[in-house]
């Protein structure tokens, strides 16, 4: 119940008073985690619990790079998996192939986290368009595309 929206709490009082016939459990409530941020940086480091991020010039991502993932409204323990697929633009019919995969274990059973941050360095991706998928306990939560402009 800790995750019920403030709206629900505020409106519950008026509900019974107005006799709308709406029960508390019928109100919409966030019960599933969501990706708040997935960004790419030149460097990300943990500085005493604070994430220090170094941006790319003009936001042009070069390889190697770091991804910075923030997932909100998350509870219990589980695994977050981040996968990168390379898209070969020269051969349109060819399916993108998995190039990078990283698994993160998080949390403890019974605990609720307002957000959890995951970050890691990715090496070996060639310039071009790539797709990534973010899984939580083997269920796809979010996906997107990334363009790498050059390699160092």
């Amino acid at each position: 119940m800790t995750r019920l929206l403030s709206a629900a709490l505020v409106t519950t009082v008026s509900l019974t008073g107005l006799g709308c016939g709406i029960k508390l459990e019928q109100l919409p409530a966030v019960e599933y985690p969501y990706v708040f941020e997935m960004e790419f940086f030149k460097e990300v480091r943990n500085d005493n619990g604070k994430a220090r991020k170094k941006k790319f010039k003009q936001d042009r991502v070069t390889s190697p790079f770091y991804y910075f993932l923030k997932i909100k409204e998350i509870e219990n323990s589980g695994t977050v998996t981040v996968r990168f697929y390379s898209v070969n633009t020269a051969q349109d019919n060819q399916s993108p192939v998995k190039k990078v995969e990283k698994k993160f274990a998080f949390g403890e059973t019974g605990n609720y986290y307002e957000y959890i941050i995951f970050f890691d360095q990715v090496e070996g991706l060639q310039p071009g368009v790539h797709r990534y998928g973010i899984f939580i306990n083997q269920h796809l939560l979010y996906e997107g595309s990334l363009e790498i402009f050059s390699t160092l």
Partner: protein
């Protein structure tokens, strides 16, 4: 005896505004859903942004349409484009053997993502294993890869958003939801059992809406409303602005309204820009105590077009103005398009005009007009004007000329004007770094001057040289400019102008500095010698602008006069302090008077991208001020 004016208290105004708003919302709930094609979606949580027309949902998503049932964990739905994506352990079950475009449907199964587009939807199924495999309608691949996902935080930035657990969406993009909590400016309001959170297509429906509310210490409080009428016999669009100034001890007018409206009677398919059976525009201003009404009737046939217009306008203490206008234009003739026009003030003054563009040569724009204007008011006037204009655009030059012959029929006097301007096409040198413009002009006028006639002949030439600049050592840039203008005159008023400009600039990251110098000289021939004078000025500009993140923008300018002494200094600055909180300032200092002409310093906060609050001090107004503005 004192006279008291009863004015409705602000609570009543707010209550009235709320009632209108709720009436509009209620109208949304009672409108029936178009049963043509719809999709029903259930889940644990849905969030719809009214500003972005975008929806996010999560937990036990279940989508059901005529042909397909789908379940998943997360949904992103762009309502405007009617496209979305479902993530999670997505189970797709076919309920019909045919797809949206009538083909045999195959492919029930479980996927990591399903992208859909349109209604009935076309589907693209994606699995993220060792390879990224796609199946279904592969023409949707581009739409899937370019689909934009918006986070719940982005959606909650809207001034109006809704949370609910169940909804249906139809081809008109109308979303009817159950167990809805509306949020206005981030604050939850009364939960509703059923509610239409997006009305979908409603361009041609009657509606009333609250537009905005503004408050400033200078202008007082104002409320704006918009109304649209779309009935069988009448279409109309109306704007109403109510303002209150007396409550804030401001000058006249104390309070009032501004109303403007456009009406079109008997609208139909034939009602176009040039075809209106009867239209009626209104402008009312209670502050100025003025009004303006225009009735118009227009009709366009195969060989003609005509319009009848009646204008009535008035203002307090001034006589009411009437004007009737009749326009007739003949179409379909090969070389000309004659137009006839009459205006009448419903008294004794009137004018009639005949004009036509001549289509003799395609590139030649030749227009011929004749007008007779008779005024019988406080004075008598009867003039006959004949004018022609000619334009020609060739590959090397362009030409524009005008000739006007005006005869006063009462005084038998004649005025003549003629001008011709020829511009050579600009010449470019050094890879378009330098531009060279030459133009010449010839003007002739003959005006009555007592018993004599005053004739003036003035030929002239203008030469302009502009450059995009040259790079100098140490990163400096130099941009010179030159302009030469000479005008001969038969009345001994010939002169020659020379204008020079020179700009030197340097940029270091976000900082840039520049020096602008300008010198203008004019020379006149006086008998045996030449008289001349010069004027010069110098500006120093310094700017510090965050072009990338736009977090700050500071601009300092120093203006120097003809003696190159400092005349005044201006400074404009804007700094983002925190999220949506800006500090702005404007200063103007007069060096000669040794005082600030104006100083404006204020802080601006934007809430939910809709409400802007500004507070600060203005030296020009000599007061602190606060403003509430809605966008």
């Amino acid at each position: 005896m004192e006279k008291f004016i009863k004015f409705p208290c602000p609570n009543r105004i707010i209550r009235l505004a709320c009632l209108i708003f709720l009436a509009v919302l209620y109208a949304g709930t009672v409108s029936p859903i178009n049963a043509a094609e719809s999709m029903k979606i259930k889940g644990g949580y849905f969030l719809f942004s009214d500003d972005l027309k975008y929806l996010y949902g999560s937990a036990d998503i279940l989508i059901k349409s005529k042909s397909v049932a789908l379940s998943g964990d997360v949904i992103y739905l762009d309502v405007e484009r009617l496209e979305g994506v479902v993530y999670g352990n997505v189970k797709l079950t076919l309920l019909s053997n045919k797809t949206a475009d009538g083909k045999d449907a195959v492919g029930s199964g479980t996927w990591d993502a399903v992208y859909f587009n349109g209604l009935p939807a076309r589907w693209l199924k994606i699995s993220y294993s060792d390879v990224l495999h796609m199946d279904g309608d592969l023409t949707l691949k581009k739409g899937f890869s370019e689909f934009i996902k918006k986070t719940p935080e982005m959606l909650k930035n809207a001034s109006l958003y809704y949370e609910f657990r169940e909804f249906s969406i139809n081809t008109d993009k109308k979303i009817k939801a159950k167990i809805v909590i509306p949020y206005m400016m981030g604050m939850p309001t009364m939960p509703l059992k059923k509610f239409t959170v997006n009305r979908g297509k409603w361009e041609d429906k009657t509606m009333v809406s609250f537009n905005n509310v503004n408050y400033s210490g200078l202008d007082g409080l104002s409320l704006s409303f918009f109304a649209r009428l779309r009935e069988k016999l009448l279409h109309g669009d109306y704007d109403l602005k109510l303002y209150e100034r007396k409550l804030f001890n401001l000058d006249e007018p104390k309070r009032g309204f501004l109303f403007s409206g456009n009406n079109s009677f008997f609208p139909g398919k034939k009602n176009t820009k040039n075809n209106r059976l009867l239209s009626f525009t209104t402008l009312l201003n209670s502050g100025e105590k003025s009004f303006n009404l225009v009735f118009a009737h227009q009709l366009e046939g195969k060989y003609f077009r005509y319009a009848l217009t009646q204008t009535i306008s008035g203002r307090r203490a001034l006589p009411t103005f009437f004007e009737f206008r009749y326009d007739l234009m003949l179409k379909g003739l090969k070389l000309l398009e004659p137009a006839f026009n009459v205006t009448h003030n419903l008294k004794q003054s009137y004018s009639y005009r005949v004009s036509t563009p001549l289509k003799l040569i395609k590139k030649l724009n030749l227009n011929v007009n004749w007008q007779r204007k008779i005024i019988k008011d406080n004075f008598l006037s009867d003039t006959s004007d004949f004018s022609t204009s000619l334009g020609y655009n060739a590959s090397l030059f362009s030409l524009a000329s005008n000739y006007n012959y005006s005869r006063n029929l009462l005084e038998a006097s004649v005025r003549k004007n003629f001008s011709i301007n020829m511009k050579l096409k600009p010449l470019h040198f050094l890879d378009r770094s330098i531009r060279f413009d030459i133009s010449s002009v010839y003007m002739f006028s003959e005006l009555p001057y007592g018993d004599q006639t005053l004739t003036r002949i003035s030929p002239g030439i203008t030469v302009a040289l502009r450059s995009i600049g040259a790079k100098l050592p140490l990163g400096f840039k130099l941009v010179p400019g030159f302009n030469f203008n000479h005008l001969w005159d038969n009345r001994d008023e010939s002169f020659t102008d020379f204008n020079y400009t020179l700009a030197l600039s340097k940029e270091i990251g976000n900082f840039s500095a520049s020096v602008d110098y300008a010198l203008a000289s004019r020379y006149r021939a006086e008998n045996f010698w030449v008289e001349g004078n010069n004027r010069q000025n110098l500006n120093l500009n310094f700017s510090f602008i965050d072009h990338h993140n736009q977090n700050y923008s500071l601009l300092l300018r120093l203006y120097h006069n003809n003696q190159l002494a400092l005349e005044n200094i201006s400074f404009t600055g804007k700094v983002n302090l925190l999220k949506d909180l800006n500090f702005s300032s404007f200063l103007l200092y007069y060096n000669k008077e040794n005082k600030f002409r104006t100083v404006e310093v204020f802080i601006e906060k934007i809430f939910k991208k809709k409400i802007k609050i500004q507070g600060g001090y203005s030296l020009a107004l000599k007061r602190f001020f606060i403003k509430f503005l809605t966008q």
